[in-house]
Assembly symmetry: C2
Homo-oligomer: 556 residues x 2
Amino acid sequence: MASDIEIARKAGIKPISEIAENLQIPFDKLELYGKYKAKLPLDLIDSEKAREGKLVLVSAISPTPAGEGKTTISIGLSEGLNRIGKQTTVVLREPSLGPVFGIKGGATGGGYSQVIPMEDINLHFTGDFAAIEKANNLLAALIDNNIQNNGRSLNIDPRTVHWKRVMDMNDRSLRNIIVGLGGTTSGIPRETGFNITAASEIMAILCLAEDFHDLKERIGNIFVGYTFDKKPVFARDLNAQGAMAALLKEAIKPNLVQTLESNPAIIHGGPFANIAQGTNSVLATKMGLSLSDYVVTEAGFGFDLGAEKFLDIKCVSADLKPQAAVLVATVRALKYHGEVPVPDLNNPNVEAVKQGIENLEKHVENMRKFNVCPVVAINRFVSDTDEEIAVVKEKCKELGVKVAVADVWAKGGEGAEELAHLVAEAAESCTSEMTPLYDWNWSVEKKIETIAKEIYGAKAIDYTAQAKKDLKVVEELGLGNKAVCIAKTQKSLSDNPKLLGRPENFVVTVREIEIAAGAGFIVPITGNIMRMPGLPGTPAAENIDIDDDGVISGLF
Amino acid sequence: MASDIEIARKAGIKPISEIAENLQIPFDKLELYGKYKAKLPLDLIDSEKAREGKLVLVSAISPTPAGEGKTTISIGLSEGLNRIGKQTTVVLREPSLGPVFGIKGGATGGGYSQVIPMEDINLHFTGDFAAIEKANNLLAALIDNNIQNNGRSLNIDPRTVHWKRVMDMNDRSLRNIIVGLGGTTSGIPRETGFNITAASEIMAILCLAEDFHDLKERIGNIFVGYTFDKKPVFARDLNAQGAMAALLKEAIKPNLVQTLESNPAIIHGGPFANIAQGTNSVLATKMGLSLSDYVVTEAGFGFDLGAEKFLDIKCVSADLKPQAAVLVATVRALKYHGEVPVPDLNNPNVEAVKQGIENLEKHVENMRKFNVCPVVAINRFVSDTDEEIAVVKEKCKELGVKVAVADVWAKGGEGAEELAHLVAEAAESCTSEMTPLYDWNWSVEKKIETIAKEIYGAKAIDYTAQAKKDLKVVEELGLGNKAVCIAKTQKSLSDNPKLLGRPENFVVTVREIEIAAGAGFIVPITGNIMRMPGLPGTPAAENIDIDDDGVISGLF
């Protein structure tokens, strides 16, 4: 079997101008980045089409080490829809560069369901992450400069600054650092750290912004810390928003690339799905809907995390309404939820599938709470037996939910035609309208409780003393009416990563609440959320190479 | 008078494909970055043409707060040469982003001698700096990861690691930091810091590399530090060079933009002129020479710094030979060298010009030591009197050197026609061949002494105890036959920034010697070299803005 990069390289990649032509984008609107990538100017967005187009959300059961293949299914489904005559664009998140050098080699789908050029998309792409990094770090420099500079100081208490710098690199040594050493001319020493760029609030902001005006306003709203006399300080107090937004002048524009089957793909933005909304930009989604009849998009981690945020934060904020939602499951992952250890996942085990399927069941129930029409996609692996697949199909029948087996990794769009038919049927016959789970105007506690009980299945919520203090701060800052973006482990429906399947009778503990006032949400933290990964013992970087002709190898 | 950004915006900017067409670049070779920028693939370089073309180096007298305008003259001269029928490309360094938010607003020339689109060039441009930053910081992450990871450890002694992270931001708080705090899973605590990206050895390497092969070899040669048992560790020991070079896949390609008068400009790379070679990339220079008859290029700071390195490091390394060299001077700067304080520089003062002109005299002498044909360009300011200019002309006549007044800021290429004629005359009648000042095979001490005595005018060299130790290390590592890149203040020909004019009888003190084994030179440090600037009391960032249509203001 060829590796992903080999398959990608053998594909007959077309000039991006051809892909754009198929979308009826005039050539002079295209902002080319080399021959195979382009940025799309925002005036290509047609608000009416964006409201009316068919939006299909791809999510998954709770992630396991077995892998679910959400991105691969999204790409394959998009190919499948195009094959059955539905003009479709797949709209995805941009991969983060840091992890490329760590364990995995890339994040652009796999096998015969990929977006290309994969080397470019996985490395710097069109520079969006670099721009976000720079905007984030400019604010950090302005904060420390203001602290250093007594003359025009805002009197910021350095101990209260929670704004961190970011770098798109797996670099654990930057998690906790002390800056400002070296004497009076080199800053005021203080504790801080770096997050990976995808965890930046700027990323969340960029992905929710509707235009430059909104972008600047959101940036200005970023909460930085307090003055020594306990007054809140925002980015606008540092006059930071203009320069920061200027740094995002190009990054705000969605990027057009193509799939292996020469269909359009828009790839833009990549916020985390725990501390942020976990989905591509509002502008990318609207761009896709403006240019094609169907948009297939995905949200990070399981339905309880990325999809809940997609629906309650992104859709509410941007007035988007998906007509169908796909829940990706694999037999291997269901066996893992049925307590089969990783080394045994390739062995047939019908009983384990039966046990683990309760995880799928709960996610399907959750989908219905939003009034979206669910379709289950079984992402086929070679080791799956017919009996195991029959168990999943049987359960779906029992739940009254459409189900299809998809084999997109080995077959591309051809492997997703059945799924595509079901999704098109669901989207076109969908009479219900998506309804968010909560009203942003509810109290913070009610919003948290609703998500935790309805979606996670918790029996109660507990707040630590710190979280209670933080709740008061949220109210003091007038942010009680913002969306709630719960940071929780993706490994379980509960806040305990060890509880697989469908946990019950658990209490969710809110440890603290962070504020993302610019993004427009608050972040109740229910566990240890890793915001700066490290490199493994043998980093993937060691095997990445470029030859004398500039051809890259070692991305996979 | 319109501001730079206003002039730039009013200019009838042409699609970059038109500029490329004039250079006979086939459209399909062009890697567009939007409509007005393009990367040029390396196979457009014609080694023979690169050796034979007319290369004109623009340098300056010792910089003063009065400003010399080297970039502006380079652009204006290039316009002038094109006007008099010499097909010319101006080849410049890329501006660093950090300082844009500090005091100055941009670095793309000024008035009617600019390269455009100036907002893009001054902000992220085509992502080269971001890529260099990432490659640099990947090595840092791999180093700290190796230190953390005892299993496959190289046994690196963290106290000996001198490789720093970089960020293209004026951020003084990052100069001296402690990383790796937070317990056993978050690295080994150690002292380190960030430099600004232009100071990265990767920048120096990229600007000297001839191709991907050479790039990778140079990166592999980077000296990282020592093991606990005192063995040297290089980047290749971490298998870092492949992934780092892969990150530079696009950054290695020169960027094509245009001047205000629609002439071609290649802008690529931007290393410091003290700790590095201070000039654009070898590949950019060769690209320019391959595509046009003349190339005008510049080197940072005064002739003693950037130009000396241009000639002794870049030209020797890449087998380039400039046919003419322009020394930019201003009456204001000469008055400053004649001890006039800044507030009085606009007042006529013939005597001060006479006194300060000894600085120009020394630089002209230095130019002749390299056997390049010198031309003096007086960059005209409104405050200059005819009498003051006459003093400069008189001195040039006495020195037997061609001189022209250029008024490129107000008049663009029209203001540089006289200069262009002189430069073309010099380049075309030049019978001598540029000879470097020293042979790389000489001993380190002899090389340092030759530069310091011949170029700076020092009477002797002193080495601190540290520098003597460092000399031994250089020899132990087998780097004695590398070029010497002296880091010295740009403000004086001596190593004391306060000695203006033409200092004599001074001793140059080498305080320490750094190793840039990848770049292929060693760096004797003779003063405090700032590698991470700070922001001023009122950062320029506060006035930078972007409007609802995405139009940027506040860059000037």
